[in-house]
Amino acid sequence: MAERCDVAIVGAGPGASIAAYLLAKGGLEVIMFERGDYPGSKAMFGGVLYTTVLSKFFPDFPGAGCVERHVIEKRFSMLSESNELALSFKFLDFEPPYYNHSFTALRAVFDRYLARKAEEAGAVLITQTVVDEAIVSDGRVVGVRARREGGEVLANVVIAADGANSLIAQSAGLRGELPLSVILGVKEVVSLPREVIEDRFSLEGDEGAAYEYLGGGAVRGAMGAGFLYTNRDTISVGYGIPLGALKALGVQPDELLNEFKMHPVVRRLLRGTTPEEYSAHLIPEMTPHDLPRFVGDGIVVIGGAAGLVNANPLFHEGTNMAMASGVMAAETILQAHKAGNFSAKALEPYASRLRESFAWQDYDRYQGLTRMAETHPQFFSKYPYEFTRLARKLFSVAPTDDGMQVPKRTLELAVADHVLAELGLMSLGLDLLDVAKAAMF
């Protein structure tokens, strides 16, 4: 006889754990399968954890040691080969304990914290166990097949919370192959004493910084972005690049990371650091057309498995959307449990609530911008270099042969010339119009 439970959850990431917590609290028998040795042992992100949803259920998280630093500076910059043009936002007036709900974090720490909350509520966590597929019978999902002795577990509902690769949603027929728009994220956690980090990045106490590097010299002008986030006594440094762009670039991803680290601007921030851990993971960035269906008979898909990310040079969000979708899925399943009906129709409220929430709306709004970027490689291959060059022209303090200095007006004209000759007012205008158009939707 196969084992039985109310809900079988594949994965023990943030989406899974918050769903397991709510379901177990609601009195359901929940089994959560995690293929790693412990939750977070196979997970990686940038990363900044967005804690809006988390704080509602676990208001004490900031004191629990599960996050690193609260972000007080967001900095966006464009790199040329050796120069930088940056825009920084510093916000010092958000209130503790949650500040701006943006905390740098490490997944091997955070995921364990959240999974323990689910266990404390009564969910069963089984680690070191891969689920190979959903068991489908007469067109409906009735359980999961785990790769171990007696691995068939029957359940009223399966939650596919297995992240970007989501083989479970695929095995249940809810989606096809992943497209080349998915992003490969590559990073290193490098160590540096906390005092040095705080001094170097102008931080007090547990304040943190999040730096983003858009295209240009960060990843050889390809459609990608570098990042650098300060943890307590480590720094997360890495980049993300769509698989299509990576393939076209033809550079080994590990070498590209070293190149980014050695960029003259980035290198100065990383002085004295020692790599502690290398990692890589996919970000499921895709068009609505490539997304899986969110519900089927006896199954719901949440978080990264559902393609819920807002991954673009401006925002890198996903953990919050995973937790939000986990909450909505759990609440729907609790209703379905009361009614004793787990058909796709009974689970549909999850999908409709999801579409009304920020998780879908932010995805939908910004994926349009990403699609636009795919057809405008100049945003990554040209503008970062050109804009940085313009700034260099304007701010050059240049001596003249007669021992005087080039007047500002000459510099301004040189900039105007450069804009006309290299950028072309027309094409620049059209591109900006495209950005505006993409941002409207």
Binding site: G65, A108, D111, R116, L243, P275
Partner: protein
């Protein structure tokens, strides 16, 4: 209970600022892999080339330039070898192979790589 979750860091100790002003330490591919705990399921590769004939005809061989740990190598006889024991389970090769010529699954529970930071 809060104390149970600890940051794995605490590696770098402050022994004078001058020690932290040199260039960042860089690791090559092998040393990057060596930062990870990897338990190899000896004799049970979780990744396999389905048909070498397909690889022979594959001109671009994108698997060889997109794996973050450079696990794909083209041998002298033109065959493609996967050095699967260093796999960090990202899923890139599964998607990048234009011919779906890689049989891809996760390593069994208890095997593969483990992040301490993530």
């Amino acid at each position: 209970m809060a104390a149970e979750v600890k940051s794995p860091s605490g590696v770098a100790k402050l022994t004078g600022l001058a020690n932290f002003l040199g260039p960042p330490k860089l690791l090559g591919r092998d040393d990057k892999v060596a930062t990870l705990v990897i338990k190899v399921d000896e004799g049970s590769p979780h990744l396999k080339i389905i048909d070498q004939g397909v690889c022979l005809k594959c001109i671009e061989k994108p698997c060889t330039v997109t794996c973050p740990v450079e696990n794909y190598k083209v041998e002298e006889n033109g065959h493609t070898t996967i050095y699967w024991s260093n796999c960090i389970e990202c899923g890139t090769c599964r998607i990048i192979c234009p011919f779906h010529n890689i049989s891809w699954r996760y390593p069994s529970g208890g095997f593969g790589m483990t992040y301490r930071y993530g």
